[in-house]
Amino acid sequence: MSDSQFGLGGLKYDPKMKAKPPELNVFLALMIIVVTFEVLGRVIYGDSFLFNQRANVDAIFNWPRLNIIILQVSIIGIIALGVTQVIISGGIDLSSGSIVGATAMIVMSFAQTELVNGNPNPKAIFGPWAMDLPVIVPIMIGLLCGAIAGSINGILIAYTRIPPFIATLGMMVSARGLSKWWSNGNPVSFPTESFAALGKGMWPVVYFVGLAILFHLVLRYTVYGKHTYAIGSNEDAARMSGINVAKQKVMIYAIAGMLASIAAIVLSSKNLTAQAGMGVMYELDAIAMTVIGGVSLAGGRGSILGTVLGALIFGVIISGFTFLKLDAYYQEMVKGAIIVGAVVLDQWRQKSASART
């Protein structure tokens, strides 16, 4: 059966040689971490990490904990969706955290309410004309900010040919400067009811999951997605085959910028305030989620699903350590080890995959 008369040789299809999807490994890692916390919790405190232990509540799982696990990573997760696309295209985006800060300041300035507990808003940025605007105004301004910042990144990278690391580093520093300059470092607070409703409760999770599904489909089934992978795999080959690489890159970075600005809108709404220091280090957390999720920094490989799993690993670790009442010191040390470990595993997997072919 396997001896074909046409002599397919090395090109012959062999189901055994088909690589397992990398997301499977990430999912297994997630499960191992969850089980570890469950076992440690039962051994140390006699309490369950995932399951409901209360007699007065009729539920199998401890839903408040499951909710916070995903809620606390949803906002950075939204940023990571954009970072995933940038990294798949072979680039990097260091500016997303600063775009969050700058956008939050600007958005909140157009989302303020005139009266706080019957007094004039003590943090008012503009005059009465900018008070109590319909919620669509700050949202559109926010998306515009993100699109502009992202497009500047993309244009710099595509047309001046400077490395993405440098272009987005510049944006990271400049956007942070803008967020501090905007109100001389003062926080901007007290939004309208309708703006505050955007980030209430589990809405950040809804946005995260919705956007994840959207971009999963986009990367999988659209020309935009296929071109993104093509540029990341081999930029020269992509150019030879007629892809407008420059235009594609501008689009990728603009979308990443807009996702960062969506994160800024949700974050400032959830916290009812915008502060110049918001989003510091978010870019690195977003990159870490992406890398843990199996997206290759070399470009061309990875998926939105992987990034979502990477974000969940982050969330499980944060909640697990609070559950075990361990200090933040250990949390950071373990987080660092997991990031490095994920990339080491990825390298091994790549090596063994190439050895088989």
Partner: protein
């Protein structure tokens, strides 16, 4: 003749700089809410009194701050005001200023070499021992007034590398150990939320998911207290049933207190610290003697005296 002219010219130059004191200010971080109020206090006081100030942002970087101080010395400022990034790294700053004979004033954060400061250096701040103490005693009084004898609380810490976070947390335990609390306090858990409202929201929600009954949250600052309040409200907890305390008396915190959510905060007079440090710097530049340690008192803010603080920070 030429020589005397040059000397006269120099003397004229010197005298013009002596009229308006030229003070270099290095702030630890521009995008910190409290430090922004402090920085604005310095700027406002300088504008009122015709003092030239140049304010730099050390961006939480110890090395950058030392470079800024050396740059100030090189550009011949009359005195330097430093809001230290890291209070254990102040020896090098003191040495650099002392070697150049430039007066130096530390503001807001206590330098580790406070006991050995040279004569032309000083320290202006509020005593952090008071902040956490005022906060904890006021919360204890509230619990006692509710008729409780034993309470379970969560403690939210600021950045663990920061002296104020360490001190304010130590204050809580000191009040309990010294028997100054009217009720018995059991700390269920103590974690950092890095001064941040968002992290505090997440931390509080994580705590709520353990379903341990609790009577209150003692936070090292207002931002974290507000984050805890937002998480509790989202979980449907009646804010009248828990006591929440913070420190700073920010506008957001005072609004939360007006709404009946926040029970206790402590006002740290940032503007007075700013003007105090500038006054000390100017006096030292003129060669006058100043107290080496100037304490600006903390003030307790509770709903009954809230109105007096609405326009302060």
């Amino acid at each position: 003749m030429k020589k005397t002219l040059v000397v006269a010219g120099f003397a004229a130059l010197m005298s013009t700089t002596a009229i308006a004191e030229n003070i270099g200010v290095s702030m630890a971080l521009f995008d910190d809410n409290f430090l922004t109020v402090l920085r604005n206090g310095i700027q406002a006081h300088a504008d009122e009194n015709g003092i030239d100030v140049q304010i730099e942002d050390a961006q939480n970087d110890v090395a950058k701050q030392l470079d800024q101080i050396n740059n100030f010395i090189a550009s011949g400022v009359d005195a330097i005001v430093v809001n230290p990034v890291d209070t254990s790294a102040t020896q090098a700053m003191s040495d650099a200023a002392a070697a150049a004979g430039v007066p130096l004033v530390y503001v807001n954060r206590q330098p580790i070499n406070l006991d050995t400061l040279p004569d032309n250096q000083a320290f202006v701040a509020s005593n952090e021992v008071d902040s956490g103490t005022l906060e904890t005693i006021a919360l204890c009084d509230n619990w006692a007034a509710e008729g409780k004898t034993e309470v379970n609380v969560y403690v939210m810490q600021g950045e663990l590398s920061n002296q104020a976070a360490v001190q304010r947390t130590a204050d809580i335990y000191d009040v309990i150990a010294a028997g100054n609390c009217k009720v018995t306090v059991n700390v269920i858990d103590q974690q950092t939320a890095n001064w941040s409202r968002d992290q505090a929201q997440n931390l509080m929600t994580n705590w709520l998911s353990t379903n341990t009954p609790f009577d209150g949250v003692i936070a090292n600052n207002d931002e974290m207290a507000i984050g805890a309040i937002q998480a509790m409200k989202a979980a449907g907890i009646d804010m009248a049933s828990v006591q929440v305390g913070g420190v700073d008396a920010t506008q957001d915190a005072l609004a939360a207190m007006q709404a009946g959510d926040l029970d206790v905060t402590v006002f740290q007079n940032a503007a007075a610290q700013g003007s105090g440090s500038l006054n000390a710097a100017v006096a030292l530049a003129k060669g006058e003697a100043v107290d080496q340690t100037v304490w600006i008192p903390f003030e307790l803010v509770i709903p009954s005296n809230l109105d007096g603080y609405l326009s302060k920070n």
